[in-house]
Symmetry: D2
Subunit: 255 residues, 4 copies
């Protein structure tokens, strides 16, 4: 099945040694490391997995995975990493067809992960009160080819959440406790709430607010990930480590 | 939209204090903690979220989340926990519509997670060489309401993988290196391979085999998760901890 | 150099297969697993490393290490584990000859570690307000053969610390912030303060109090330890894990 | 008790805001950040805790703690961090008066920790086969004021260990298994062996060699440490993290 590169999408070029160059298929002549001066729009219409020649060098056009898409985003705010985002998807039971409301789009990293999980029939509604963040998040989601599954709303979930019958509400704002009430009004019976926070004090306040509002199965998790390195001298964990990102607190609406 | 309990599915009953009783909607009179003697088939046909009376006590019928479904499975072999499984889904780019081959069904915990991610149009093909494991995995997948998205095959992925054009192959067998060749033959260009192994020696052998076969972006991860507890004296990580489970090694076929 | 077993000390008997039996050299006929009915006082006066016969079985008399001594203590309160205690010793610069004040003896586990580090010329002063804890701590310290280096005081460090010129003050009480002022009065210039607390709320209050009192190089650490297992199928981290114990907060008096 | 700064020792100057400048009390005019051009030999003979004026700024002369001494060392090889070193001291039962043999002095970081623990009557014998490492290690140990407790030997512990009656042997070499036999010959009955290795493969070989030679209570540990940050928004683990350093394997000679 032919599968052509579309405008505005991410494309990976792989040379014969396996080096990757991540490109954005837009009309903009630019200097690209490993390619020289190049206009990525020339890739539009070519098929993924096709081999092409650029300045005498052979490349394969590779379709980016969800990992590549998230790695490629333009970051403005601190993003929610997949190590945390995948557990939001699991504990919120996010699946194909769901309607998910996100409070705080940030740079759109979690939005991409959520959109990828609800497609092809679900929808992510992403509230963001800052115009600049919303613009970046929107661009990142579109470049990931997931624009059809996301609706951005300029707004603050602590003031209002317009939707009802929501499957899951995910909050990445400094004061998630102020949005618990709105989240509960929008959630369907059995729906899930997740709040991402860097500090323990935020978690404590969130948990207490969730308890006050009668959410069930409240649980807070911290996820740590290490890369293992297989080298000539043997295998060991990486000398580099990922520091703290955030805690995620979950609860379920059952009344 | 009415949504009745079907035969053979998992059902959660929640009493007025928030206690959960997990049931299996089959015809079998049994003594159930918190319920007394009861036949769960009586739940079949009732709607989720309906309130019912059992022996004078009020319960709500709750639809189980993916977390509940995995917690409820009957275990024979050691299972792949969601903390590891969700990263297999992320790094293998598993999404709605994909065809995923699993080598080693075990008790079906990962099968459930994969099936949940490929629906409604994708498919998981799960190879298992032991008849007894396959029977349990099948029952667990069906009880999770995901039977339509999984095909079980009695067989050993180190001998053969019949499918081609596969999006991702996931191996949970003691000797994944022996199946790398078959996995590569079945994977489409750009497809992902993941191998789950408890020991570093298995990881090392797997990584070396993946390198030999020219897979790209080989990466091994260990994921650790801690629960945080908010109590009267304040917040802290749990005094209980989850020990080691396994490492997951990833690679991508790009030639 | 002959080195006889003294009354009231810990002794380890090792059989020919390497099994250890930990004994307390006191006059009390008892049933001991692996030995039968035996009076450990019979060991008093024998030399460590001597071989002896008990009911026809051969044993070697082994001198307990600091690890054995701490493993052997009778526990009443939650103890400070060596994984945390060794960092108290490091960051408080505890060394041979130091005078250390401990607030909250608990079961005496940390007392043993501290006493072991200040000998032969230093001293640990251990305050404990509960009579029952003090009695147990004292017995544990004596059984560890370290009674000469510890002085127990019935009292509460939040009310008073009598000593001055102290090298380090270590607090294991629920409200360490209430003793910061007393600790500072007793510490010599350049002396160190360490506070052990399970919850983040305690840490936060302690850090803020230390800042208020002008301590320098305030630092809070969490230490995690995993055992690695080498088995027939290869090497991996242990499936069992140690959960959270506590955080330790350090500060130095420089004015 | 007056306690004057000696030549070649480490000194810390603290200004009135609590900033630290770490100096080496030698005769060498140098440009020092925060001080300008200065000759640290001017500090020799002054008392610790004395206040001095340098170019019109007030400083206090502070005695470095063991933490400062190790932070100040000149590094050539990768050092064993205190987080690992303190467990070597604990599980090897290193204490005042002990004789410890170190195989591989490296930059002398662990040597400093060991010397600090055996004083005033013990001794560390440190073997190092590289002349350049030995010179650096020696200088670091002397600057830490611990030269009296360490004897350096140019040599390779896999060839010979001359001492007998050793309390503990600590190996930080790439092939510790090749020195297990020599270590055992030198250790007294009941003595401890510790081997530090970055990779799992080294651990596996070491454990198997220790088992072959009949050491008892073989145990491998990994220690992880996180700093906690108390900020305006609350408390959380540090966003920076310490990656993997090494595993330490312990065993005891009991026959």
């Amino acid at each position: 099945m032919p599968n052509p590169v579309e405008e505005n999408c991410r494309v990976i070029l792989v040379d014969e040694k396996g080096n990757r160059i991540l490109l954005h298929a837009i009309d903009e002549v630019q200097k690209i490391k490993g390619l020289g001066v190049y206009n990525p729009k020339e890739l539009i219409g070519k098929d993924y997995w096709e081999s092409i020649d650029i300045s005498g060098k052979k490349f394969m056009i590779l379709s980016p995975s969800i990992f590549d898409k998230i790695s490629a985003i333009q970051r403005k705010a601190q993003i929610i990493l997949p190590k945390d985002g995948m557990f939001i998807i699991f504990y919120c039971d996010v699946k194909s067809g769901d309607m998910v409301v996100e409070g705080g789009a940030g740079s759109g990293a979690l939005t991409i992960l959520l959109a990828n999980s609800v497609r092809p029939n679900g929808k992510v509604i992403s509230y963001e009160k800052r115009e600049d963040f919303m613009r970046i998040a929107k661009r990142n989601v579109e470049s990931a080819g997931l624009g059809d599954y996301v609706e951005f709303r300029r707004g603050d979930v602590t003031s209002t959440i317009d939707e009802t019958g929501i499957d899951a509400v995910v909050l990445d704002i400094p004061n998630p406790w102020d949005a618990v009430n709105n989240a509960l009004s929008g959630l369907k019976l059995g729906g899930h709430l997740a709040c991402y926070s860097p500090t323990m004090n935020q978690v404590e306040k969130t948990v207490n607010e969730m308890r006050k509002f009668g959410l069930e199965w409240i649980k807070t998790l911290e996820t740590m990930q290490r890369e293992m390195v297989v080298g000539e001298k043997g295998m060991r964990p990486s000398f580099d480590a990922l520091g703290h990102t955030g805690y995620v607190t979950f609860g379920r609406k059952i009344r």
